[in-house]
Structure formats: C-alpha cells, structure tokens
Amino acid sequence: LSLSGCRGDGGGQGGGSASSPGITDSAITLGITTPLSGATAGPGKCTVAGVSAYFGAVNAAGGVKFGDGKTRTVNIKSYDDAYDPQKSLANFQQMVSDNVFAATAGLGTPTNRAFRDAAISQKVPQVLVMTGDPLFSDRKQSPWQLGFVPVYQNEGAAFGKLLAKSGAQHKVAILSQNDDYGKGYVAGFKDSIKGASNISVVGEQTYEATDTSVDAQLTQLASSGADVFFNAMSITPLTIASLQKAQQIGWKPIWFLPSNTSSPTAILEPGGAAAYPGIYSVSFAKAPQSPAFAKDPDVVKFLDELKQYGNYPDMPAFPHCMWSYMVGATLEKAFQNMKEPTRDSFMTALRDIKGLKAPLMLEGTSVDTTVDGQPAVSSVVVQKYNGKGYATAENFG
C-alpha cells in the first residue's frame, strides 16, 4: 500500500540528470543558516556578509559562467539559527522547501551537525561551513559536506610546531574555551609538542564562552610561572580583558592567540598588547585592520564590496567576514567547473579544486579540496604582532 502516493512531493527530482532544485538557467540559490542573533551573532553576521559581498559583486558584473555554459546569478538566502541546533535543522528543512541548491558558510559546530544527517539523506550539499570540526571533512562519513576553515587542531599544531622548533626551554600555560573549539586547539597544540623535551605545560585552565571574567584563571596561571601563554579564546571582550589583566598582575608571557581573536585594532590595541614580549597568531587571511594591508588591492576591493553588497559598513571585527568572502570565491570556482546543473555535479566540481588562491589569502596558503580528511583550507601561517599589524613568523622568539 503506497500511502505516500497521494502527497504532493516537491523535491522529487533530486537525483536524475534533470537540474536539481534551486538552480535554473539563469540563477542559483544558496542558503546560509547561521547565528544572526544572540551571543555568536557577531561572527555569524560576517558569514552572510562575506558571501553576499562576493556574489553581489559577481552578479553585478553579470554573474557566474557555469561549467554547463550558462551564466547564472547567485542568490543568497540567509536564516537565523541563533546557534540553536534545533533551529538550524528547521532552517535546513525550510531551505529544502524554499528550493535552495546548497547550504553553505554557516557558522557553528552543533548547528551544522544538527542537519548533517538530513543533508546527507536528502542529498543536499552542506559545504564550506565555518566549523573546524574534522567530521565535515571526512569524505566517507560526510559525502555531502565539506568544511572550510582549518580544523582547530591545525591551528594549534602550527603554533606548537614553531614553539618546539625554537629549541629553547619554555613553560606553557593554557587557557581554553570549554567546547570543541578550545579542545581542538589544545589537542593540536599538545600533539605537536609531544616529542619536544624543551616544552612543558605547567598550567591548564578552561573558561565558558558565557563567562564575564577570566581573572581567576589568569591569576592561577600566572602563579605557574609560565613564559608562554597559549590562550585558545574566541570571545573578544574576554581576550581584551585578559591582555589587560595579565599585565596588571605582572605576568608578561609570550602569547598565542587563535585566528578568531587576533584583530590588531579591535583586540590587541585596546588590550595593550605592546607590553608583551610577543604575540603570535595563526591566519590564512589578510587582516584588513593591519596597516600592512591597508592598500592591498584585495583588501580595498573586499572592504568596498562588503559595504556595498554585504550590508556591512564597519571594519570587520571578526575574520569570518574574510573567510566567507573566500568561500564565495571557492564556490565560484566550483560553479565554473560543474558540468551539469545538479548537486552531484556540483559536489564533484567542488572536490576538485587545488591551489586556488582566493582573494585575501595570505602568502603560503591556498584552497585545496582534494585531500580527504582536510577542509578546503588546511594551511595556516604563524604570524607575529609587530605593534601595528602582523608579519609572518618563520621562527619563534
């Protein structure tokens, strides 16, 4: 008995060679479910702004010439999930009913995980998402997924390697956010210093993303006598406050900060970072706030488009604006290579990008989607703060 026979099924044409939902001869629609309200809305807004800025400019110039020969404009539909997994699933279901071609660029591990299964079973791409969770880059488990940003482990490892390489004795204190973000950083860092006898971890603390103060952790870590402080923190005000607090209590280690919270103008300057012997961070994107890049054509174009098409007039305070701009470039590349207007074809094209130098990417980094187990960007460079902006750091010290 075929009970389901009588329902008007809208998504029936999923698999075949006919075009997939969300793509016509003249347009393609992408969906982004991301936190646009609540505590993570700051970076969340950036994810939408960057992609919109990129494709806004592309559309204005006529659109993308797809691999099937047709030129299409790219529409972005955004949905607020407020960092609530249940809402991101709902948004995904809404996307499906809104005939969205693919979900992309959404921020957050739990929110992306919440609809991963559904995306797989409905064969809807969920790609270039902003989470460093390795699951999304595992081809077998996640056939319709791909992460964009380096897995958190990579960022932590990059710094650890540099530190180990220095040869000098270092005592490290670690403060990390109590979630997969912080844990990933710490795991990568610890892995990379495993063999190094010159590095010892002398103190390790965590904080909650919702905390208003980490003074106690800093006081505790300061008493450990560490000379290097690995601070895997993603919360802007807490990072500023910890930069201020540590120097107040007379603790002046060398700092490591993640790519999220290393903005020279928004964080380091108000935090009085100049007082420390060194601040290191990792990145793959040019920081528009950095004086070194003030006249960089990529950066100028980016800021301009962000304002014009991304509805984001301010100087971006979160790197997600740049990252999602690169997501736009990566998607464009995949569109150019896809031979049929189908999701299958899109995934094939997307998984075949190598050596793409997306705008805003730093020297030494590129988009490479061909490696199983790695997201689209897996290379980062360690940088050192020079009092105004960042310079690539080859050696520690």
Binding site: S37, G38, A41, T206, D211, D215, A216, I240, D314
Partner: protein, 293 residues
C-alpha cells in the same frame, strides 16, 4: 597566599558588576513588586546612548548624564505604556512581558549598533594599585566604591524618605494606597524611571570592561538575580553583600576545589542560594514577608 588574596580581590571586582545590576532589580522590585528581566537590556541600551553622545564629541561625564536622564524617561514610559497593562494581572505574565521587553530592547540595540564589540571609555583609569599584595585596577576600585554609594542612597531612599515609603506602599497594595491619595500610576512610573536610571549607571560602569554588545549583561543578569534572591529582595545592602560573596566564592571554589573547576563554578551561587535559603528563606538581609491567611 598572594594568589588567594588576588582571587578574593578579583572576585570582589567581578561581584561589583553583578551588584550594579542587582541594585536596579531590587529597586524595581521594591517599587513595583516585579522582577524585571529586561533590566540588563535596558542598561545596555543606556550605555549605547551614552556611547553615541561620546561619539558625537561630548565629554564622557556629560554623555553619561544625558543617558541617565533619557533612561529615566524611557523607564517611566515603559511602565506607563507597557507594564501598566499587566501590573494587576498574573505576575507570570508580567515577567514574560519583561522578557519580551528584553528581547525587543536587545534587538533594537543590535539593529542600531550591530553585534560587534564597541570599546566604551571609562571614567576611571585602568592603572592599578596594590592592596595587601594583590593588584587591583583603579577602575574596579572606583566601580566598587560607586556601587557602595548607590547602595547607601537606595537604602536611605527606601527607609528614610516619603517617596520611598510611597513607592513601597504602592508595590504592596496599589488599590489600598490609592485610597490614601497616592498617585499610583505616577509612582510606578517614578519607580521604573529610577530603576532605569540605576541601570544606566550600572551599564556605563561595566561597559568599559565587558565592551559594548547587545548581550553584554545577559550572563551578569543571571548572577544579579542570584545575588538579589540570596541577599534578600528588599535589601540593597543584602544584594551587594551577596554579589560580592558570589564573586569571591566562585573564584575560590574554582581554583581550590579542582573537582568543580572553572567550568562548574557557576553552580556556586545556586548552591549558596539553596543552602542559605533553606535556613533563611528571606535571604541574607531580607525581611521576611509576613503572610497570614
């Protein structure tokens, strides 16, 4: 020992953030009998308003004063045109209205100023002084002193002035108070206005440290509520003492009881509430509500 004292001093500084908001909550409660969940959101809005005036080039102090005055008006208008409709009804509904207000006000701040962290200038310098071997910033110290001053003023307002008496009378039994000629509506507006004023002061005091975002006080609100309940709803002194105690204990527990650690230290205020309220249901300094059937 040095660490211990530093932890205590840090805890007091954090506690003063909670206390700032807690005082405003106590004021609304004493004046209208409600718990205002929107108190934090309104304080943030006030801080944004001050920020705008600073951006326009006004001196910080003047900007704060303007914001405080505007906040009074805003609080009074909110009472008159929103809460008025719910004051006689089910208190749960009124609480949910304040939740709605919190959402709305937070949303408005977000629309007008975005979610980026804005640096808010401080009235007090960030330089630090040493007390008993612990380091504390002048800013934290000044914040704490300001809060103690506000606390004393509030205590005097409630217990020594005619206005305070009238506010309490209206909160206690508006119908009966009206029979004695108390302009109930106007007094409720004044109560909300004053609380918003206090919230504004709290907002500009803590904004330099937390940096301005629409959700700046969301976490602090939970702690402030805990402090209010722990200290006793009717007592400004109680809520300041409780807020400080929470700040300090949290630090000590997180550091010295590794099993709890920094991730579960947030359980401390609630455990404290539980233990103390079993013994003293009215809170540390609160007066017992007398109920006879």
């Amino acid at each position: 020992m040095g660490t211990f004292i530093q932890l205590v001093v840090d805890g007091l500084a954090t506690g003063s953030i909670y206390a700032a908001l807690a005082l405003a909550i106590v004021l609304v409660n004493q004046a209208t009998g409600l718990i205002n969940f929107a108190q934090g959101g309104m304080a943030v809005l006030s801080a944004y308003i001050a920020y705008v005036f600073v951006q326009l080039g006004l001196p910080l102090l003047l900007a704060i004063i303007i914001s405080v005055v505007l906040s009074f008006l805003f609080g009074a208008l909110v009472e008159r045109f929103l809460l008025r409709r719910f004051e006689r009804g089910d208190p749960d509904t009124a609480v949910v209205v304040t939740i709605g207000l919190l959402t709305l006000v937070t949303g408005i701040s977000a629309v007008l100023w975005g979610y980026n962290n804005l640096a808010f200038p401080s009235l007090f310098p960030l330089t630090s002084v040493e007390i008993l071997g612990a380091v504390v910033s002048v800013r934290s110290l000044a914040t704490a002193v300001t809060i103690v001053v506000i606390m004393v003023v509030l205590q005097l307002l409630f217990l020594r002035t005619k206005l305070g008496l009238a506010l309490r009378a209206v909160a206690d039994n508006p119908a009966s108070a009206a029979f004695s000629g108390l302009p109930v509506g106007r007094l409720l507006m004044v109560g909300w206005g004053l609380a918003a004023t206090l919230g504004a002061i709290a907002g500009v005091l803590v904004a330099p440290q937390l940096t301005l975002t629409p959700g700046m006080l969301d976490t602090a609100l939970v702690y402030a509520l805990a402090a209010v309940i722990l200290g006793g709803l009717s007592s400004p002194i109680g809520c300041v003492v409780a807020a400080s105690a929470i700040g300090v204990l949290e630090n000590l527990v997180a550091v010295y009881i590794p099993l709890i650690g920094h991730d579960l230290k947030i359980a401390v205020p609630f455990a404290l509430i539980f233990v103390i309220l079993i013994i003293r249901p009215q809170g540390l300094f609160g007066r017992k509500v007398v109920v006879r059937v």
